[in-house]
Symmetry: C2
Subunit: 142 residues, 2 copies
């Protein structure tokens, strides 16, 4: 079980938008060429990023740009833009309320798993697009 490719792809898109700003028009086809997915996937993802307020996309003319500085965009912003807000783990719906384990498992285990998810969110929030962009620029191994 793993999270989908959407966070990595969305992050890739945002990095390209910022890196190539002014140099190339970052159309869905251009971005698709870097990420290596179908342009429609790019457009769908850009749509989610636009809904989340992270990018502005020029309808008609084409191209996208960030709405704010890369230092103010975190992986958590991107994660929330492309993933549903839900529990980290799926719980069995109707455990037996006659059983002391059954009637307590969701609360007892759920609260603890909730905290783990919160840690994950905190970790994602600590990584900015700027940090990733710097790493790409400084550690580039052509």
């Amino acid at each position: 079980m793993q999270f989908s490719v959407r966070l990595p792809v969305a992050t890739h898109i945002l990095l390209c938008i910022e890196k190539f700003q002014g140099e190339y028009k970052t159309t869905s086809t251009f971005l698709a060429g870097s990420v290596n997915v179908h342009p429609v996937i790019i457009r769908k993802t850009l749509g989610q990023l636009r809904t989340a307020g992270l990018v502005e996309v020029a309808a008609g003319v084409g191209g996208a740009k960030l709405t704010r500085s890369p230092k103010d965009i975190t992986l958590l912003d991107i994660f929330r833009a492309v993933e549903e807000e839900e529990d980290l783990f799926h719980f069995q719906e109707n455990p037996n309320p006659q059983c002391p384990v059954g009637r307590n498992i969701h609360r007892v285990l759920g609260t603890r798993l909730e905290k783990i998810k919160q840690h994950m969110m905190d970790d994602l929030a600590a990584i900015t697009l700027e940090e990733l962009l710097n790493a790409v620029n400084e550690e580039d191994v052509p």
Copy 2:
């Protein structure tokens, strides 16, 4: 995107095995009654827990028991027993190596996501079956 019901179900199973040890024979049908899933799901999950060395199952006669104390079984043990070992996020296979973002994204983002997964594993390792069992016993709200 969320993890499957397997970790919660496996944890439920282990809690029941320990809680009802000596009182009831914890067969797949008995456990299925508490978890509210099909007995075959229980048997498959018990199979994974047995492979991981967490339980012994009495073939033929029926019933299961833990191989060690609940304080020595963590959620990480259970997680590893029922989930594949893989990256937390799925990466796009072939990003464009001509693009500075494309040829660095996997390493730059991957190493950071790897750390987040490690934190999650550490969090899971910090929660023991004993802690959960105590919580079930002490906070039981019938």
